[in-house]
Amino acid sequence: MTISMAHFPILAIMVLFLGAFLVALFGRKSEVLRNGISFLATGGAMAFMLALIKPVMIDGEVITYWLGNWAPVSGWAIGISIEVDALSLFFGLVITVAVFVSCIYAFTYMKEDDSLANYFTLFLMLSGSVLGLVLSGDLFNMFVMIEIMTFTAVALTAFRNNYEGAIEGAFKYLAVGALGSTAVLTGIAILYCQLHTLNLAQIAATLPQYADSPLTIMAFGLLFIGFGTKAFIFPFHPLAADAHAVAPASISLMISGVLTKCGVYGIIRLVYVLFQNVEVPAVQYLVVGFGTVSMFICVTMAFNQHNFKRLLAFHSISQVGYVIAAIGLGTALGLSSGLYHAMNHTLFKGLLFLTAGAVQHATGSLDLDRLGGLAKKMPKTCILFLIGAASISGLPPFNGFASKWYIYQAAFEKGSTSGNFFFIFVCVVALITSVLTLASFIKVAQSVFFGQLSPEFKDTKEVSLAMRIPMWILAVLCIFTGLLPGKVSEYLLTPATNAAMNAVNYIDQMMGQGYAVSHGVAGSLGDTAVTFAGVWDPVIWLLLLFCVTCAVAIVAILGSNRKLGTREAPAALQEPEKVAPAEAKYEPFFSGEESVYSQVGGSDLFWGFKHNLKKYFSFMHDWHSGIVNDYALYGVVAIAFVLVFCIAFV
């Protein structure tokens, strides 16, 4: 009774759904059973995905599987299929690791909530549907999985319904998400009308002969904006901000790390495999344009925020903007760097959201204007936060630097080979966004961890080890993927990029050899060889950073007249270590009474920058009005714009 490896994908999905219903059956009576079943389900799914690395990524096979043994009849696909190639397995690995970490974190973080059986049921259904989405080979199956994903995410966002604004955030997510789902379903209906099939491989094979008809182009526009809604691109970003601010931290990891990646996966399948029109310049402008606008607007919005998790949510969408801009470039280096940044984003954003959850668990507050000085009470969480902040800003030995460098290189090369100024402009905007991200995280670090401790948080304690272990897993993965970009590229990125750009192989594996050529599908898109420019080695940069830090520490210690390691100094005398340059301005205003609590809070930093751009910031503040009708209006305008653009130019 051996189970061949072809059954592993469906077993991975079903083990999560089965775990969800077993938790619903047994979870109410016993906490041990509930935690045990969840742990086994998520661990089992991760084990199945890891076992598939050897055949799919290294040997290059593609696993094809027809549900119910309904094989194609005379060249026409009649069943639902599952097709796992390297691109699907790449996303599957990222998803199962994130799900596993979130599950372990939730055991301790959610301890004080009740009806936890419902939480774990919904969480396992969310994980199962997301994994089903990336492994599916059938378009309507993807739609059903998107819907399950949306419902469970909305229900989990509203889980702590005694928080202020939880119900409101969940309703906005549902209402505007319904717009996106309707767009996807209309696109699928129009595509079925034209092609009479729902199988991804068969659509990819029969689409080229209809490539110019307006119906197909309309379907492309609708599917693009529908998947973009799930990835929270530009006009749909207020939903993410509202949902992240009220969701529990382990669910924020899922929404920002996993659900957005499903939208990105949908866009990659759409543009590279189904329609294969990523070489058309208008499509490149569309995708890269949406990515760049998301990137820039969200990072500027982050300066105005007072809630820790809402600020992290805006940064999350800005990084997803990077990924979409990189994917839209159409070259192998662009796709490869986009995938690398997608994986890194799940890791470092997950780490940042988990530290925010730890701060919330320990102090009960997420308000940047009231927190401060927590580094003394929670030093280990502070270190983890600094690792995450350094990764997202793109500082050298961490993974953010590697993937952002590749994105800059890809955009610049695309600009220089095509002679088009637009892509150089995108590269410049990406660099500016990176600098603004660093500024924003200096602000957060100062207002949450450094500075003076407010008297109301005097007796906060460090969070327990059970909550720190998932954070350390993510931090270690951040460091490893940053130190070994060559290995990551060889084992994970290059097979995934080759699989995405080689649609002929995808079709032939599913429907039989020679099917693609007989329908006139062209060969693989472009050059799949990827070479990385620049002479740099992360280990050397790590040594350089270490030497510079030692030098700065020696100078600081010799220069001050404090003894190292005193713990009796009162909180008011401690000076903030990482001082923003604006600190010196405030000293004349403090009268020198050291017992006065005078924390430079989150809203006080960068006040000059905010004051000069007052018009822009107040316009943006009014534009994110919080009314669900306005957000629906922005969504409908985006759908209309994409449709008009596609029909006019593509």
Partner: protein, 116 residues
Amino acid sequence: MLQVNYIGAFCLIVLGMYCMIAKKNLMKTCIGMGMMDYGVNLLIVSVGFHDGGTAPIFVISELSRASFFVDPVPQALTLTSIVIGACTTAMALSLVIMAKKQYGTINTEQIRRLNG
């Protein structure tokens, strides 16, 4: 040839979007979401229709070359879509009930504590 059902489907979708944009009551937003779903369902069923075809139910021994059915695949898609629409409506209505309990009102201009 005037295809009334296609025109009706797109009108329903657009009317549903209008309801979501212009009406300030949360219940009307839910109705708008539901109308969008029904419009898309009508579109999917219309796609599968062939003139003169009968319902695709048969016993395998009575099947012959001359039997002409409408396409059964869009009917399966529509069933699934109706189920999903029912779940969306149920979840939206539950959230509206909880919002009424918490905020005391279901006017969208007063339920806006998360903004900026």
